[in-house]
């Protein structure tokens, strides 16, 4: 029998980059096939080719033995290929039914939308696969896990056989991850096949039937969970032996740098996002904030850095009250901020590197004299920083937008670490980066801690928080539901706190 899906010699070039280099991949019916690789290895490019978003330069795709021409997502859908994106493609103010129907509407004889039939079909699918989704609810009222299941229903509704899941676990709690894998098992039992894109080794080993590792656009090997272990997969992914654990000395915390008391703040839709949060961070320690995305971490960072103002509570930085202070004042007091969304907040993509390196110090001597920017000095400083922080770029006047994600992040790190700081707020500092860059950033964070900086690390990657932090605070629903010493914390314990299941008395 022919495999469900076969990719033969897929090659895709971008200017200066070979994103996919003769990739072969075979997906058998009823198989969960993990596609493992670092960010930038070419996983997403490959899937976008399959989904008709890119044209390959070479190579062919076969579905059940027939050659497939995909020029657009609708061709892919017609061939039974469906994709669940990392960021769900849902309209929050529509109901589940309306979202599922969108782009695939069936009509009543009078030309109006036939919601009833669609809802009935969704109920049927939901029961068949144990998805537990009510078609009449609004998507905005659903949990993240349920929203993901709506995306899966969308594909089942369109009768897809081949599911591509792009980093599906990135936004889920550990418990929701387990639920997702139960659903995936259910899908393959019913004869569906799944390609599952990830860079998380643990998940691959637990849930895949077949593993294909790609690096630098090439398939570097195929294996099965039975044959492989984490260390082997990591070295295949990176191309060298990788230290999976971060080496660090025990912390030596000194005086409190940041004190937060009873903080209350709203998000940009005026909903309560932070609900009475108190903690302190001392010089020379890393406080990690764990939590599923959307539990108030973003707003916490925005309030601490002056980008949003709290409605209640008090923030003290180095003995000075900074509640409601401007970002500039907080920066000038010695705070560095690695923002969650580097392209949105941290960089001006169509400015050159040299300008981005002085984004918050452009007005200070020697960068400017009076109101005149000192271009010569800026260029020289930029060259130094590019060297010191190992930013890979042709020169300092290259626009930041043309750099890779890792190098963009290095530009931010270079900017924030090159001035004297006492407080570092790092939000998702390694999101979307390759293992090499992650190692580098982790190393720099520890270095700053050892130099006596107070570090607040916010990350939705539980592994990262556990590895780097000296203390871990878990946020759930706008509250800190527990603070644990990192040495004693277990993944299960934190996982349950993240899900809001148990709540220990918060003690900061």
């Amino acid at each position: 029998m022919d495999p469900v899906l076969e990719l033969r010699g897929i090659t895709k070039r971008f200017p200066g980059v070979l994103a996919n280099d003769h990739i072969d991949l075979t997906l058998e019916k009823g198989e969960i096939h993990a596609l493992l690789g670092e960010n930038g290895a070419g996983k997403t490019t490959l899937m976008n080719i399959l989904y008709g978003l890119y044209d390959p330069d070479e190579g062919e795709v076969f579905v059940k033995g027939n050659k497939l021409e995909v020029n657009s997502p609708s061709d892919a859908i017609a061939a039974g290929i469906g994709m669940v994106h990392q960021h769900f493609m849902l309209v929050p103010v529509f109901t589940v039914t309306e979202n599922v129907m969108l782009g695939y509407e069936n009509l009543q004889p009078n030309g109006l939308l036939d919601r009833q039939t669609a809802a009935a079909r969704i109920r049927e699918i939901s029961e068949q696969y144990h998805l537990e989704v009510d078609p009449d609810l609004y998507v905005k009222d659903l949990s993240v896990g349920a929203q993901q299941r709506v995306d899966i229903i969308k594909l089942l509704y369109r009768e897809a056989d081949i599911f591509i899941l792009d980093e599906p676990t990135a936004v889920l709690t550990p418990q929701e991850v387990d639920e997702l894998f139960t659903i995936m098992r259910k899908l393959v039992e019913k004869g569906k096949s799944i390609i599952f894109i990830t860079h998380k080794l643990r998940e691959v080993l637990e849930f895949a039937d077949q593993i294909t590792v790609i690096r630098g656009g090439k398939v570097v090997g195929s294996t099965t969970p039975q044959e492989a272990d984490q260390r082997l997969l990591a070295s295949m992914m990176v191309g060298r032996a990788v230290e999976l654990n971060v080496d660090k000395k025990p912390a030596d915390p000194k005086d409190a740098v940041l004190k937060v008391e009873n903080l209350v703040a709203l998000d940009d839709r005026d909903q309560l996002a932070i609900d009475g949060v108190s903690f302190e961070i001392r010089s020379g320690e890393i406080l990690g904030i764990a939590g599923v995305q959307g539990n108030g971490q973003t707003e916490l960072v925005r309030v601490l850095t002056g980008l949003a103002h709290p409605v209640d509570g008090e923030i003290t930085l180095l003995g000075e009250d900074i509640t409601g202070a401007s970002p500039r004042k907080i920066t000038e007091l010695g705070t560095a901020h690695i923002p969650e969304d580097r392209q949105r907040d941290g960089l001006v993509l169509n400015f050159p590197i040299v300008d981005n390196l002085v984004l918050n110090t452009y007005y200070i001597e020697p960068n400017a004299r009076g109101v005149l920017m000192q271009q010569d000095i800026l260029l020289k400083t930029a060259d130094d920083l590019i060297n010191k922080f190992d930013v890979r770029t042709p020169n300092s006047v290259t626009t930041v937008g043309s750099l890779s994600g890792g190098n963009q992040q290095k530009v931010i790190v270079a900017r924030e670490f090159s001035r004297p700081i006492k407080m570092l707020i790092a939000s998702q500092p390694t999101r979307g980066l390759d293992v090499g860059s992650i190692e580098y950033i982790h190393h720099r964070l520890i270095e700053k801690r050892d130099a006596g900086v107070a570090v607040l690390l916010v990350s939705t990657e539980l592994d990262e928080v556990m590895q780097l932090s000296d203390r871990i605070a878990v946020m759930f629903d706008g509250k800190i539901v527990g603070v644990l010493p990192a040495a004693e914390a277990t993944k299960e314990q934190i996982g349950l706190l993240m899900a809001g299941v148990v709540s220990t008395a918060a003690e900061a």
């Binding site: 070039r13 200017p15 330069d57 970002p327 901020h337 949105r344 001006v348 169509n350 984004l359 400017a368």
Partner: protein, 418 residues
């Protein structure tokens, strides 16, 4: 996938390159190349339009004859456009040979008249370009021009006994301040309440039009005239003309160039400009970097208004010497187009303004001698603009390479978005 596309992608691969190839490849990626090709394409399409609307083409006895007639019509049109914009070479030679000063001036007049026509475009183009750089769409330049002219004329008429060297700058300043006020209002509304500057600057246009009519039919009206027109400004407030009649070329042109230089220095050499550009390129990053969005928005709209106000002042102090109803023929709206053509760069704006000035001035002659309606120039401008706004068309037609990373010179905030 098409063969052709594959080759194109292959060509992108970095291989060993010699200097010439690198130059050609950079040229091919450059957005300036796109602009120039857009202008050429506009001219070609404009010619096609002329050919298609020439009646003789359809009544010609044979296809060859028809083609000949068409080409003749196009030639005649562009010849008239050229001589109208720059001058007739034979006339220039003859005038120079005759040595008659007035004849020489007349021969060169089309060229200078084009510069005169370009001057308000430079001011107004700078105004819109400055706004674009800060992510603001100042569609109110036209109204700011009217207010600028109104204030300049008032200063020109009512300040008496001042020396030329003081009266002219003072009147220009009055125009700039008037325009600045007209930009400040939508600016502060945007910054404080989030009201979109497009809506408010359009509304400010209407207020400006009616306000100038109000003054021209009342306080400012020249009592000796039947039509609503102001009195003449004092001689001391008139911009210097460098040549005798009929050349109207005046010092406003050089003031415009100076303003372009100042805007360039402001935007690209000072910390203020760094803030303005950052706010325009990424407002979130500007906020993150501690810049004050409110202040920068208000300053940008006011400066933009001031530049547009100077366009109005330039016209009344340099050319008209009084203010009439509807004295501006939409400079403020054309300015939006030419700011786009000039990539919102002060020097690009100068070039685009010259293009517009020469086209507009040449078109008058074209209408007289070739009988081609002046509107063809508007169509031509529209073609050029459409091509520049959709660079993909030009890149496809001329098989240009994609730029490595699109440098957005202009980034506008969306409706209601940030």
């Amino acid at each position: 996938m098409s063969e052709e596309k594959m080759q194109k992608t292959k060509a992108k691969e970095p291989k060993k390159k010699d200097a010439g190839k690198v130059f050609l490849s950079e040229l091919s990626k450059s957005s300036t190349t796109v602009t120039i090709l857009a202008i050429i394409s506009g001219l070609i399409l404009g010619g096609l339009l002329v050919a298609l609307t020439t009646e003789e083409v359809y009544t010609a006895p044979s296809f060859g004859e028809g083609l000949k007639v068409a080409l003749q019509a196009v030639w005649k049109t562009y010849e008239a456009l050229f001589t109208g914009a720059i001058g007739t070479p034979s006339k220039i030679v003859a005038a120079l040979q005759s040595g008659d000063a007035e004849a020489i001036r007349r021969a060169f007049n089309p060229f200078f008249e084009s510069l005169v026509a370009s001057t308000p475009y430079i001011f107004a183009g700078l105004a819109v370009a400055l706004g674009f750089r800060v992510g603001l769409f100042n569609i109110g330049a036209e109204g700011q021009i009217f207010i600028g002219a109104l204030c300049a004329v008032t200063a020109g008429i009512y300040l008496k006994g001042l020396p030329h060297i003081i009266h002219v700058p003072l009147s220009m300043l009055a125009g700039a301040l008037g325009g600045a006020l007209w930009g400040f209002i939508p600016g502060i509304l945007k910054a404080k309440t989030g009201a979109h500057e497009v809506i408010n600057s359009i509304m400010m246009n209407y207020i400006a039009f009616r306000l100038s009519e109000f003054f021209l039919t009342g306080l400012l009206k020249d009592p000796d005239k039947f039509i609503p027109v102001s009195a003449k400004i004092e001689e001391s407030a008139m911009l210097t003309r460098f040549f005798a009649h009929p050349i109207r070329f005046h010092s406003g042109f050089f003031i415009a160039l100076l303003m372009a230089l100042l805007v360039y220095i402001l935007l690209f050499k000072t910390t203020w400009g760094f803030e303005l550009r950052t706010v325009g390129a990424n407002m979130n990053a500007a906020r993150y970097a501690g810049m004050n969005i409110v202040v920068n928005t208000v300053i940008a709209m006011s400066l933009s208004g001031a530049l547009a106000g100077m366009a109005g002042a330039n016209e009344v102090l340099g050319i008209n010497h009084n203010l009439a109803v509807a004295f501006s023929s939409g400079y403020g709206f054309d300015a939006i187009a030419l700011a786009l053509i000039g990539k919102s760069h002060p020097f690009g704006v100068i070039l685009a303004a010259l293009l517009f000035g020469f086209l507009r001035n040449g078109a008058v002659q074209m209408q007289l001698t070739a009988g081609i309606p002046i509107d063809i120039i508007s169509i031509l401008q529209a073609f050029i603009l459409a091509f520049i706004a959709a660079p993909a068309i030009i890149r496809t037609i001329y098989r240009l390479k994609e730029p490595d990373f699109e440098e957005a010179g202009v980034k506008l905030s969306g409706w209601g978005g940030n």
